[in-house]
């Protein structure tokens, strides 16, 4: 019985993202000496911070079997509003609070429409995607806004040699992980993602859970936007475009299912984000042909999803024959 004895293959299939991550690290490490330097590690983490924060929020929504396409627009809006405010002379803290409020507001709006109006998340967030970007373009009059240095200073502030973006990233991942694994809310997110009907029968307040998930996603998007512009020093009209796809791709790479109920922030999404970022970083380090970038990134995503579906098929097969995987 081939499929039971071949345990190594199975566990490799099970941890496909980790295996690919290890392969990517090894290949780039061999090709470029500076890839494994401490400074480069810091660079990768800094660059991953904004995407990582957004992907953490996205994981919550994906776990409820939803999707949030509006995160890139929330990021953009966060950038536009905060930079407008700071340029106009408002203190930083006020700009930040307004931005977080905007993120929460968008999250609530998404959640409310999904829960109350019973509109499919894909459509709801597609609408808020256009609204957010439109509003941002309107506020910025489609001009790039350059930020005062006070903003950039936040991005380069270090605590014990660790840049602020990484600290924000780690905080969000830790809080996200604790929320999912250590609280009733987290467990109910998984339950709702598996089946809203069953969750209702079990006495879970499904609407509240969905609302909170979208709220967290919106909040994370605005934090991610702030972290990104504190490094960029400017907000251009294309800022945040396609971030939603990168965030979804990172979460899925980390093992989160688009059908809900399956996935983790730590290690899942974190590894997914780092994998994406390491590939980008490594390709620059070895000065690869620019045409290779999308090919390799796409190839890795394809591989992971392929392996995941192979694993799924195999489990189905085992289940049909009454053998349960321990």
């Amino acid at each position: 019985m081939k499929w039971i004895t071949n345990k190594t293959v199975q566990s490799l299939l099970h941890h496909s993202t980790f295996v690919l991550f290890a392969i990517v690290l090894t290949v780039f490490g061999l090709l470029s000496q500076s890839f494994f330097s401490f400074q480069n590690l810091i660079n990768v983490l800094t660059q991953a911070s904004s995407l990582g924060i957004i992907a953490t929020g996205m994981t919550f929504v994906l776990l409820t079997a939803g999707i949030d396409l509006s995160v890139g627009s929330i990021m953009f809006l966060a950038g536009v509003i905060s930079s407008k405010m700071v340029v106009a002379g408002f203190p930083l803290w006020m700009a930040f609070s307004v931005v977080l409020a905007v993120g929460i507001l968008f999250g609530l709006m998404n959640g409310f429409l999904v829960v109350r109006a019973k509109i499919v998340p894909f459509i709801v967030t597609l609408a808020t995607f256009y609204m957010g970007r439109g509003l941002g373009l309107f506020l910025s009059e489609t001009r790039a806004i350059n930020l005062p240095d006070s903003f950039l200073k936040i991005g380069s502030t270090q605590f014990f040699g660790i840049p602020f973006p990484i600290i924000a990233f780690v905080c969000v991942v830790v809080i996200g992980h604790l929320l999912l694994t250590k609280t009733v809310f987290g467990k109910q997110v998984y339950a709702v993602g598996h089946s809203t009907l069953k969750s209702k029968k079990a006495g879970i307040k499904v609407n509240g859970i969905l609302l909170k998930a979208y709220l967290i996603c919106g909040l994370c998007a605005s934090i991610g936007g702030l972290v990104a512009i504190s490094q960029l020093g400017a907000v251009s009209p294309t800022f945040g475009l396609q971030s939603e796809f990168m965030a979804i791709a990172a979460a899925v790479l980390g093992g989160t299912s688009l059908f809900g109920g399956k996935g983790t922030v730590f290690p899942g999404t974190l590894v997914g984000v780092l994998l994406v970022q390491c590939i980008q970083n490594g390709l620059v380090m070895v000065n690869a042909d620019p045409y290779l970038y999308p090919l390799i990134t796409g190839g890795v995503i394809f591989l992971v999803v392929l392996i995941d579906s192979l694993r799924h098929l195999q489990q189905q097969k085992l289940k049909r024959w009454g053998i349960h995987q321990k």
Partner: protein, 503 residues
């Protein structure tokens, strides 16, 4: 009296489904609730469980008026309802499933966190109560159907109920597992709980209960001690008429001409298997859950891949099996899982019945001749006695289980099959519908077609088949001809090992 129903009425719109039910429930006893689908069993229990409100009448719990406004309210009043469809989250562990709403918490730095240690201890205690020896951290996805049932029961018991309602708890269990469940129910009874047991399996009801209440058309027909009933009297009470032979007789004999021949079929733990079926024959397959009957027939039909084996249909070798090919050859397959595989559950009856024959009724330019196909499909649905309000607009999911099954049958009969494969065709459907399905099988065979019948009910096989093949652990353990039919021998063949191992 622990619980009394006093003159309960319930109507949905203008349809009265319960007409003045008076019934009492004692502590430390098991009440069997039987009746055909639509007799009002579920509605009565849904009222007790707080899922629907009653229209008039009242319930008294320990002498006090009891009127639950939600399932949670019913639960706090000590009523636990274990539904036929389990409400478990396979992606969570057992402990998480048990405490998904009221998880034990602890305070760390002013925040409420899950207290996994307490949850684990509590879970272990409850699991040992139902005799389930698995880790509380085990994901439910890794449990067998029986274990999941136990978890669901454990979940119900964790609320310290006074009354536990079991709705068809044995449909996905093997006999052995069902016996374990009955032992558990008996021990709950001895602890002083009142149990309501709903089942179509009258053997189980007779074996387990102290009292039996029979409902028919929303009225309580009989309520007495179990010992005062026999299965035939129960059946008569449920149906409201004398059914005569519950399983109708058939006098035709097989033609001796082979239509399907299977040899060397093998995949995974299944096989190698060799058997054949003759024209005009009903071939039965018996075995325990997990014996590989469904898996075997799914391979034959090309739904799952086989590793090796050859199939001959009317003497011709078949390659690259798939359902489309079989349907063209006149072989139809009614799958075990009618809701997911046999029906488009959210589509109308008409669309479901027509599905398999649409390619046969076309006009020029390949357009479907809806007029003709509509006429024929309606005639077929009526021929199998499907009860519906509107053939073209009513959605299948609104039908009862028995009528859903008839829709699937009508679909396949419309293709005029030479061979009809039935996988558990009577699972979870009421006695009247069962009787009708038996009649249909006989009629089909009389017209010269053949039938493969996979069933877990021995009576059914004994009554209908010309030959029974018993499977165990993926192999054929014994074959019985009609004159050798004997209940105990068949059971033994299913329970025990394959012939080689015996030898």
């Amino acid at each position: 009296m622990l619980l009394e129903f006093k003159d309960i009425h319930k109507s949905f719109g203008e349809v009265a489904v319960l007409k003045g039910i008076r019934l009492a429930l004692e502590t430390g006893s098991v009440l069997g609730l039987v009746g055909e689908n639509g007799a009002g069993k579920s509605t009565l229990m849904n009222i007790l469980g707080g899922i629907v409100p009653l229209s008039s009448g009242k319930m008294e719990l320990s002498g006090k008026v009891y009127s639950p406004d939600s399932p949670n309210d019913a639960q706090t009043n000590g009523i636990a309802f274990i539904h036929q469809e389990l409400n478990l989250f396979p992606n969570l562990s057992i402990a998480e499933n048990l405490f998904i709403v009221n998880f034990p918490k602890k305070k760390v730095m002013g925040c409420h966190f899950l207290d996994r240690k307490t949850a684990r201890e509590k879970t272990e205690k409850i699991l040992s109560q139902v005799g389930l020896d698995v880790s509380p951290n085990m994901p439910v996805a890794n449990l067998t159907a029986a274990q999941r049932q136990m978890v669901e029961i454990a979940k119900a018991l964790s609320t310290n109920p006074k009354i536990v309602i079991f709705d068809e708890p044995t449909t996905s269990l093997t006999r052995h597992e069902a016996q374990k469940l009955f032992n558990l129910i008996r021990s709950l009874k001895n602890e002083g709980l009142a149990i309501v047991f709903i089942s179509h399996n009258l053997d189980d009801v007779m074996q387990l209960t102290d009292h039996i209440a029979v409902l028919r058309d929303g009225e309580l027909i009989a309520h007495d001690e179990t010992t005062s009933y026999t299965i035939p009297t129960l059946v008569n009470l449920m149906i409201g008429r004398d059914m005569g032979d519950f399983i109708p007789r058939r006098d035709t004999v097989t033609s001796g001409e082979t239509c399907l021949e299977v040899s060397g079929l093998k995949a995974g733990y299944i096989g190698p298997l060799d058997f054949s079926i003759e024209k005009g024959e009903v071939l039965g397959f018996y075995g325990l859950v997990g014996a590989g009957r469904s898996e075997m027939i799914r391979m034959v039909y090309g739904l799952d891949p086989m590793e090796m084996g050859t199939l001959r249909w009317n003497g011709r070798k078949m390659h690259n099996l798939n359902p489309v090919k079989w349907i063209k050859q006149g072989v139809a397959f009614l799958t075990e899982n009618r809701q997911d595989e046999g029906l488009m559950i959210d589509q109308t009856i008409a669309k479901n019945v027509q599905l398999a024959v649409l390619p046969r009724y076309t006009k020029s330019l390949n357009r479907v001749d809806y007029k003709e196909v509509g006429k024929r499909s309606r005639a077929q649905a009526d021929a199998v006695n499907t009860k519906y309000q509107n053939f073209t607009t009513q959605v299948v999911s609104t039908l009862s289980g028995g009528n859903q099954q008839k829709v699937v049958l009508a679909k396949w009969l419309l293709t005029k099959p030479e061979l009809l494969i039935l996988d558990e065709p009577t699972k979870g459907i009421d006695i009247g519908a069962k009787h009708e399905i038996y009649t249909l099988i006989n009629a089909l065979v009389k017209s010269g077609s053949s039938t493969v019948l996979i069933s877990s009910e021995i009576e059914e096989l004994l009554g209908l088949c010309d030959r029974i093949i018993v499977m165990s652990e993926g192999r054929i353990s014994r074959e019985f001809k009609k004159e050798e039919f004997e209940r105990s021998a068949i059971l033994e063949a299913a329970l025990h090992h394959t012939e080689e191992e015996v030898l």
